[in-house]
Amino acid sequence: MTDGEQHVLIIDDEAQIRQFIRAGMELGGYRVSEAANGNDALREITLHPIDLVILDLALPDIDGSELLERIRAWSTVPVIILSVRAGETEKVKLLELGADDYVVKPFFMSELLARAKVVMRRQSERKDGESALRLDRLVIDFAARTVALDGKRLNLTPKEYRLLQVLAQHPGKVITHQNLLKTVWGQAHVNNTQYLRIFVRKLRQKIEADPNRPKVLLTELGVGYRLNDPTARDPIRTE
């Protein structure tokens, strides 16, 4: 796929921020539109085909999380949140509302570009409906429900496979603890983080070279986990 045709919308009330993100995105080969407030942003999204939304939470007219909800009501466009508030509770809330990723200000342009690339690739892969996910040495075959490392099939328990599958459905995206617990163990266990820790550890022992220094199944402190492709040229920096 070519990035040149992809259209990024930057929603931020600070002109300086929009300015450097635009410069960075254009350097990355994207087409860029800007919106300084929520209403302009909504109009922009409805009028033009947008491939990625970069949304600052502090907007003069509509609260950022409300705008996210409104967009999610009818669109699956990838959304990356920009925020100066770095609270984990807030990140969890935004991910639950449907944000694809978040970046805490101040941030590096390279980081934003890497995340933009990941969420847009995920979006296009979702459209393609691939039946397998390859992450370096790891291959997850959704159709056959098998996982292989270096071509060797791994013996995963049903819970381990389910956990990996939920993460692999959205590679690169942070899946919150609550979301994983709810999907894999059920609503009743939504607060039993220790289940998750134990199974993540077991999974890492099977899929990682060094479970103490994971490269694929990454921890997002206080928020959740994400699957990372270690071969990607711009590895995602956890903030």
Binding site: Q19, L27, P106, I198
Partner: protein, 547 residues
């Protein structure tokens, strides 16, 4: 000893005499500071109607007789009745009415016995002489009474003046006092002057808080302690004063400083022996304590209000400051940092080594600024107790990796050796805070050790704890550092010129670890021998493996 409620009956003592005697008592009290049995006796004897007054009256009579007889022998008898008026007036002024009356009667007797013929007999032989003696007696009694009254009035005026001056000073001190101790001091001093005796102040728990100097090393009378504790038990609020007698015969007034609150404690004043002046004195002491108590209440209320207001304002200011720091400083910083990273990507810059270096410089410095802003925000959160750890089961390797990732730029030139246990360890921690704490420690290790040196990070279970240690090969600690490390804004003297930073790092790390129920310890073999910082977190194996 008896404890009785405040009604002490007045037993037919003439009001004026009572006030007059009060003056005498107080004047002498202020002259004679010592307090022993002899002086008490002296005071009583010197008081109007006392033995001394009567004896002195008789001495006067004898002296006047001697003088008159002498005069008659040398020259010629002066007017006898008139001469006798002199000692009468003197006795009236010094010892009062009784003494004057005795002198007058003695004078009348002398008149009859010595100076009206027939000499040395007591038989008046003519009516006119009897009349003369009677007239003399009436005149001298009236004169004596008038003289004594004049002196009393003058003394009373003086005493009132002193009282008013004292009260004025007292009210001035009370109104200018800005602390309870100032009011207590004023009250104690005033009571000390007024009563000339001892004052004791007990706090709201019944322990002695202050006592007047006059008490010296004397023990506090048991009766007083008993009354105070009784008052504590009953609850001082609303209770009135009580009067108790100690074993020396002194009466003590015991009263809560304020009748509305127990907070100001109980005051005990020694009123002295129960004399006829007792009720008046007691009434004035009670009124005075009442005034002081009201002032204290006003002050207490005012202070509570102003403290609450100050707290609220401080909190508001802190919130505003944190808000504006995070917004007003971080927004432009975000643009600078972001723009510098865009520059670093631009082909025009990447192709030009000089520009590339400059872009990297802007990038590095703005990142450093960002770290310091974050440290200040963290420090203010810690100082205002705004730190809330969200404890969850978590793997130590997660926050160790995150901290290493965060510090990867600083640690770029080092070999970082990480050793973590093979088995699963679960700790009940706030991973985000732990990552920040370890980040600060790694940052310090990088800052104070040579650029190419190695840093070792080790995690292992030790007894009931999980210990994570960071060992560098850097500057180490000297004796001063050991003492001061961990204080806010501390930076070793050796480093302040060489490295940047505010000196908040270790302090923040310690606070963050403490919020996770852990401890931080720094050890060093000495200067330039490197140091090891060890974080210890509680380990609870039983629960951590619950499946």
């Amino acid at each position: 000893m008896s404890i009785e409620r405040s009604a002490l009956p007045l037993e037919g003592v003439d009001d004026r005499a009572r006030l007059g005697s009060d003056v005498r008592w107080l004047t002498l009290a202020s002259l004679k500071r010592d307090f022993d049995i002899g002086r008490i006796w002296m005071r009583k004897a010197m008081a109007p109607g006392g033995v001394i007054g009567v004896i002195m009256a008789l001495v006067f009579v004898v002296a006047t007789d001697a003088f008159l007889l002498l005069m008659r022998y040398i020259h010629e008898l002066p007017p006898v009745a008139l001469t006798f008026l002199i000692p009468i007036v003197v006795a009236a002024i010094i010892w009062g009415t009784l003494s004057a009356a005795v002198t007058a009667i003695g004078g009348a007797a002398s008149l009859t016995f010595f100076f009206y013929s027939p000499f040395y007999t007591n038989s008046a032989d003519s009516r006119s002489r009897v009349l003369g003696v009677v007239v003399f007696l009436i005149v001298s009694l009236v004169l004596g009474y008038l003289a004594a009254r004049t002196r009393r009035d003058a003394a009373r005026a003086l005493k009132r003046e002193n009282e008013i001056r004292d009260l004025y000073t007292f009210s001035q001190r009370i109104s200018s006092a800005h602390s309870p101790s100032g009011i207590f001091e004023a009250m104690q001093q005033h009571l000390g002057t007024l009563v000339g005796r001892k004052v004791l102040l007990f706090d709201s728990l019944g322990t002695l808080e202050a006592k007047s100097e006059r008490l010296g090393d004397e023990d506090i009378p048991e009766a007083v302690t008993a009354a105070v504790s009784k008052m504590q038990v009953a609850g001082t609020v609303g209770s009135k004063h009580i009067v108790v007698d100690d074993d020396r015969g002194s009466a003590w007034l015991v009263r809560p400083v304020s009748t509305n609150t127990a907070d100001f404690g109980v005051i005990a004043v020694d009123l002295g022996r129960r004399s006829e002046v007792f009720d008046d004195l007691r009434a004035r002491v009670v009124a005075l304590i009442g005034d002081a108590g009201q002032s204290l209440e006003r002050l207490g209320l005012a202070r509570t209000i102003s403290e609450a207001r100050t707290r609220a304002e401080t909190e508001q200011f802190r919130e505003a400051l944190i808000g504006s720091v995070s917004h007003e400083l971080r927004t432009p910083l975000s643009s600078i940092l972001g723009a510098s990273t865009v520059l670093a990507l631009a082909p025009e810059v990447t192709g030009n080594p000089r520009l590339k270096k400059l872009a990297a410089l802007i990038h590095q410095e703005s990142e450093r600024l960002n770290v310091e802003i974050q440290n200040i925000l963290d420090a203010s959160r810690i100082s205002s107790n705004g730190l809330q750890a969200k404890l969850e089961w978590a793997e130590p390797s997660d926050f160790v990796n995150a901290a290493l990732q965060r510090c990867r730029n600083r640690l770029a030139s080092r070999t970082v050796e990480v050793t973590l246990p093979e088995e699963l360890v679960l700790l009940r921690i706030d991973s985000v805070l732990m990552e920040r704490a370890l980040g600060q420690i790694l940052d310090n290790a990088a800052k104070y050790s040579p650029p190419e040196s190695a840093i070792a990070v080790r995690g292992q279970s030790e007894g009931g704890q999980f210990a994570i240690s960071v060992t560098d090969q850097g500057a180490g600690l000297d004796a001063d550092d050991r003492v001061l490390l961990g204080q806010k804004f501390f930076r070793g003297n050796r480093h302040s010129q060489v490295t940047s930073g505010l000196g908040l790092g270790f302090w923040i790390a310690s606070a963050f670890v403490a919020a996770n129920n852990g401890t931080v310890e720094a050890t060093s073999e000495g200067v330039n021998k490197g140091m090891t910082v060890t974080i210890r977190l509680p380990l609870s194996m039983k629960e951590s493996h619950k499946d």
